[in-house]
């Protein structure tokens, strides 16, 4: 069981937030007396490990923990608590389990907690299956899960699919509620900016909620100064690009799940897989995570060398105890150091490959938007070699988005001839869904990518990776569009300064102020001028997911001298290009 992230250095009280989430969970567990079986939505168990430790569950009578599946309940516990997201497919599984118990005359009490709230549609399914009456229902409120001092996530991976493919905006409602809950904790956020239709919708739901039920906010200065809502639809290119920061690469090749990476014995040695938590409690990782991977090796080497020097010093010269103590303290960091050396060495085996290099060149060519033919050729060869479908699609999506769609002949050719014939006809659904989500389209009008590229300086060449000047370091030359927008939003002139560019990007743009009431607003304004030295806190919300490299770029931004802002990220899901596309892949048997 991994340790919970410490969160001590968070700019707002995230420990309190987590504590409340714990208490709510405990309350749900205590709603049933005695020992019980906890059945979790498989998608929830990971995130929940970031909120509570198993020992706490045990203290509250959880004897067994299992994942909801098609199999019947294997336990003699007579109390069963389900905690699930309100997804229709899960209801059938629950119904099947209860029906199985009924057939076997196994008497049990069932409690069903929906996270974040009860759903009429789900209960309808249970009703149709004839098990609704035997269940006690409850709600486990949604809390944003703190992954680190500056990262919160709802870990809702189906936002994109539900929203863009099914046209079901439930997740936006949930997100609006989450943000309003944050506001009732940390104060009404005075500045709100947003880009994209989903962003607009979230903000309008937030306002409607406040209209219906007055938001009670704490007295005094709000802790968060600015809220930036970004719809992922505004920037679909960035998540498709290979992340080149240390953390990003670890995620691309080893997959970071719920703040942990699972390492093979081949990487670390030993004889079984090890789960390693990756967050700022690991000081070395905190220093390395946001750097371009190109410089990580050098830094590790330097650190190792200095340690070696210390070691020889200790051996050869007579030293004071205090020096020895310093040395021993340094030695404590040794396991972390070896671990990161092992990981980065492992990553090098991928990054040194010619195929990786040529892929990066291809991505670069695509975002430059100058030459498409060699890209088509390259992608075709990938398909011919039967490289993984998702990996092919990541490039195709960049091609489609930057080019405002594929030309008709290419569109049909890739769609049909190449993808279906090579990867199977069932991908017809996948491709259709990609099309609905705006990721893969037929070209209908000219692309304005080149204007955007120029206007927003999306390609910044000759970066010095070890001493970057621009966020483009995170993708070795490509400045992530999403983060560029944040950068402009925090600029004195705001988005008005780049109005022309904003118009070219999809969806609505808005910049508004929220005020409690006029009198107070005045007073706040006066106050503000007196505490000018304070760094303002910005909450950046990504609707549809965000990648690690983007977060790194944001951290880089806030570390710049000219910046007077601290940044905290709230996303619906931490993702990378692969998991982003996978979330659209469906399975006919549920999901």
């Amino acid at each position: 069981m991994a340790q919970l992230p410490p969160l001590e250095n968070a700019p707002i009280n995230l420990i309190g937030l987590r504590k409340e989430a714990q208490l709510d969970l405990v309350e749900a567990l205590d709603s049933m007396r005695g020992r019980k079986l906890l059945v979790l939505d498989p998608k929830l168990s990971g995130p929940l490990t970031l909120i509570v430790q198993i020992s706490l569950l045990k203290e509250h009578g959880v004897e067994n923990l299992s994942h909801l599946s098609g199999d019947p309940i294997q336990s003699d516990c007579t109390n069963v608590i389900y905690i699930v997201r309100p997804h229709l497919t899960l209801m059938k599984l629950i119904a099947a389990q209860i029906q199985h118990d009924k057939r076997n005359q196994q008497e049990r009490q069932y409690s069903l907690y929906f996270m974040p709230r009860r759903s009429t549609a789900c209960e309808k399914v249970l009703e149709a299956e004839g098990v609704h009456g035997g269940i006690t229902f409850g709600e486990y409120r949604m809390f944003p899960i703190p992954f680190d001092d500056d990262v919160l996530s709802l870990e809702h991976e189906l936002v994109l699919k539900e929203l863009q493919v099914d046209g079901d905006p439930t997740s936006l409602w949930d997100l609006a509620l989450t943000i309003n809950n944050l506001q009732s904790r940390f104060g009404l956020i005075p500045n709100v900016k947003g880009k994209g239709d989903a962003a607009k919708k979230v903000f309008s739901i937030m306002k409607k909620m406040q209209e219906e039920q007055a938001l009670t906010t704490p007295e005094g200065q709000p802790e968060i100064d600015t809220l930036i809502l970004l719809d992922r639809q505004v920037d679909l290119v960035t998540p498709m690009c290979s992340q080149l920061t240390y953390e990003g690469l670890v995620d691309e090749f080893l997959n970071i799940n719920n703040g942990c990476v699972e390492l093979d014995p081949a990487i670390l040695g030993g004889d079984k897989k090890v789960k390693v938590p990756l967050n700022s409690s690991d000081k070395l990782y905190r220093d390395l995570r946001d750097l371009n991977f190109g410089v990580v090796g050098g830094i590790l080497r330097e650190k190792a060398a200095s340690m070696k020097q210390d070691y020889t010093d200790v051996k050869t010269t007579n030293q004071e105890f205090s020096d020895l103590k310093k040395f021993v303290k340094k030695m404590h960091a040794l396991p972390e150091m070896t671990r990161h050396i092992d990981i980065s060495q492992y990553l090098t085996t991928f990054t040194r490959k010619r195929s990786f290099m040529s892929r990066l060149i291809m991505e670069q060519t695509l975002v430059e938007g100058q030459e498409y033919d060699i890209c088509y050729e390259y992608i075709e060869e990938m398909i011919n070699k039967q490289e993984p479908l998702i990996s092919v699609l990541r490039l195709l999506v960049i091609l489609s988005v930057t080019n405002n769609g594929l030309q008709k002949k290419h569109f049909d050719y890739f769609r049909f001839v190449e993808l279906l014939q090579s990867y199977g006809w069932e991908n017809l659904f996948f491709i259709n869904d990609l099309e609905r989500a705006g990721l893969l389209r037929k070209q209908e009008s000219k692309s304005n990518w080149l204007t955007l590229k120029r206007g927003l300086r999306l390609v910044v060449s000759d970066t010095d990776d070890s001493n970057p000047k621009d966020i483009s370091y995170a993708f070795s030359g490509y400045a992530p569009l999403s983060i560029r927008l944040v950068q402009h939003a925090l600029h004195a002139s705001g988005w008005r300064g780049i109005e022309d560019m904003m118009k070219l990007l999809p969806g609505a743009t808005f910049e508004e102020r929220q005020v409690k009431n006029r009198v107070k607003f005045k007073r706040e304004k006066e106050k503000k001028s007196s505490v000018d030295g304070r760094r303002a806190l910005v909450l950046v919300v990504f609707i549809g997911g965000v990648t690690f490299a983007e977060i790194s770029a944001l951290r880089f931004l806030s570390a710049q001298e000219s910046m007077k802002h601290d940044v905290i990220v709230l996303t619906t899901k931490l993702c990378n290009g692969t998991s982003f596309l996978q979330s659209l892949q469906t399975n006919p048997l549920g999901g």
Binding site: L88, T89, K92, R117, R118, S119, T120, A121, K124, V125, A128, E162, D166, G167, D168, P169, T170, L172, W173, A176, K201, S204, I205, K208, E211, E212, Q213, R352, R354, M357, E380, E381, I383, N384, K385, Q386, D412, R415, F416, V417, E418, L420, Q421, S422, Y423, G424, W425, E426, L428, F429, N432, N587, P588, L589
Partner: protein
Amino acid sequence: MAVSVAAEWSAIANRYYRKQEIYRMAWHNVELSGHKVACARFGGMIAIIRDDTKIVRLRSEPARPKLLIFRSSGLLVASITWDRPGGRLIAMGWSDEEILHCVMQDGSVFRYDVHGKLLPDKVWFGQECWDQGIMECIIWGNGIVCLTEANAVFCIPDLGSPQFVKLAQLTLEDPPHCMAIIEPQHTVSGSVEVLLAVESTVMVVDGGSIQDQGTTIGPLGKMVASPNGSYVACFTHDGRLLVVTSDFSKTISEFDTQSALPPEQLIWCGMDSVLLYSDDSVLMVGPYGDWTKYTYDEPVVLIPECDGVRILSNTFMEFLQRVPDTTVSIFSIGSTSPGAMLYDAYDHFAKRNAKADESIRMVGSSIPDAVEACIDAAGQEFRMELQDTLMRAAVYGRTFCRRFSKTRIRETCKTLRILNGVRDPNVGIPLTLQQLKVLTLPVLIERLVNEHKHLLAIRMSEYMGLSPETVVVHWAGAMITAATSVPDPELCNLLLEKLKMYSVSYAAIAAHAYRNGRRTLAALLLEHEPRSSEQVPLLTSMGEEEKALGKAIKSGDTDLVYFTLFHLWQKKSPSEFTRAVQDKPLARNLFIAYARQNEPDVLKKFFASIGQLHRVGELLLWEAWAQSKNPVTRQGSPLQGPRIRLIEEAQRLFSHSKEHDFEAKACDEQARLLKIQQELEAKTGKAIFVDTSVSDTIRTCIVLKNHREAQRIRVEFKVVPDKRFYWLKVLALAYIKDWDALEKFSKERRPPVGFKPFVEACLQEGQTSEALKYIQKLSDPEEKAEAYAQAGMAKEAAEVAAQAKDSEILGRLKLTFGQSTTAAALFDSIRDRLSLQGG
């Protein structure tokens, strides 16, 4: 203040009791004798009806009895002709909610509100009771217990949800002498206990058991439990009044009344004295056997309250209570308590008498106690002029205090205003301060609104800082009920004019309007409800589903949309449903998402009805795909038949519109592919073909060395491009390590993909020697150098790179060979050479 206040008190042992007239009854010609009278607690309503069991001389009244409801001050609220069936009226009593419960002989219970309106829900004690007939009945604040002619005991334990239960059955030959109850809040079990005096003992009956208390104090003619349930006052057959603990284990006090006839009424006054009423006199017996007697020249009814007893007669309402301690300390004759001194001082002060100064000096440092005493005593008073004097005395005293909480005085003044307000005969609720504390202000306000004293209620709410919402909502409801003839828009405006001033739940008011058949009004009111979660369910239940759907969609709350969708779906015909949903994207999408999982057939019909045949096609394909994933339908080729049919049907649907050419073509191809795969599986006897892609199928054929089939498939799906076929075949051949075939294939003709795939395939399988054959044929020096490097041949790689004069490759190659220093040196030397040449 001519007469001393204390002159009206009567002393029992060391305690004083006082009896004050509260009201002179406003009614006329009401005769309590020969009538059943029920008075609600806490100064509530009085219900009177002629007692059928008694002979009464009718004056000018009609023969049919009338049920009359009065305020405590005797103002008539309602008068209704009694025409209820069910035999004799056994008992009548008010619940805590001020609902009058009338228990009939046959076990039915009729309920009336304070306005004499019969409540519709049916309450009864069941068939068994109906058969046996009720003999006796006790009604308390939240329940009813009854004893049948067959000595069975039934109970309705909660009037909020009136379900009857039968208590433990006892077998008795004769009916019990008398019955009493201990209310559930005072029993250990938490359910009501019924005490029955049987022979010389007492039986305690509750839900599950009968317990004989084994006492011999009986036979008892009358029993009653004390207000806190811990004692029982009993009147024995030989005329003694006993107070015993409620488990009958100990006798606390005994008093001989010297009359064997049980009293008409036996009642506790507060916690420490008992009242017996018989023959126009009320005998009060204190805890130590001391007593006093009040005689009346007309019949009275005793009404127990938590801090005393109200006495109702034909002409007045009195309150009998133990005199509160502070009042005693101020007013008892010759008292020198600080309170009394202060009161005296103020008396002088008010008369502009200089003795005031002397008196206040005598109070000395106890001034705060004195002020406190006066405030407290003021709160206990019914007479306003006395309240006034006491409060003035308190304020006078406070000027001599260094610190005395101002709020204490203010709060008491406020409370007194409330008390005086409700004591007004027009309101007629004679509460004491103590009673108000027990009853609580919100309950009092609720009572006021039930009695339609809305203006007073809202003034009180605002005065005491309570939310006016309950009052306003009730007022609006009452308005709607009353104003049956006012047209909807007019009434709506009338209501809004007032409602605007408060933030209230419009939905609750609209719901009331709807229940009263004012649909249009309800709809008008709902427009003003800001909370969609309140608005939508009501609109749905009003049958305004489509409007509800619109509001739900606007709210952005998908759960509300689902809620209305399910209602629509249940109530409307499929075509109506389709029409309602069709042009609302959100509703349509949500319905589709739900139906896709749970009602695929309904969804197919839905799509067909809105002319989206391709969506039906998608669903069919989806089914076919699901079959392929399902282990049962997957196994065995013959079962592929239904899948193919599904796919072909889907193709037919797709081909209806040109836009879906792509899908149609894909279906056609898939159907053909499945057939071929089925054949292949039959031929090879290997179940490895079905559900793989065209490319996979070709590769599998090559791996199985069935080149003819591979070629056939390629021709069948002629779209397979040359390049891809080459890659497939090369990789497949390398996979089965058929190097000869690979070489032969490379020589068939110049490969359209070049020799790169050959090199990569060999290297992938670790065949460097085979790879070399093809590396040499590579034309691009960069590719060549790279290939050499991959094959681990650093020197060759370096040389090729050098020929190409490409130092970028060299740099990368050096990294690849980084571990080996000799190789690194080699690259460096070559690069040096290059740069020299370049320079």
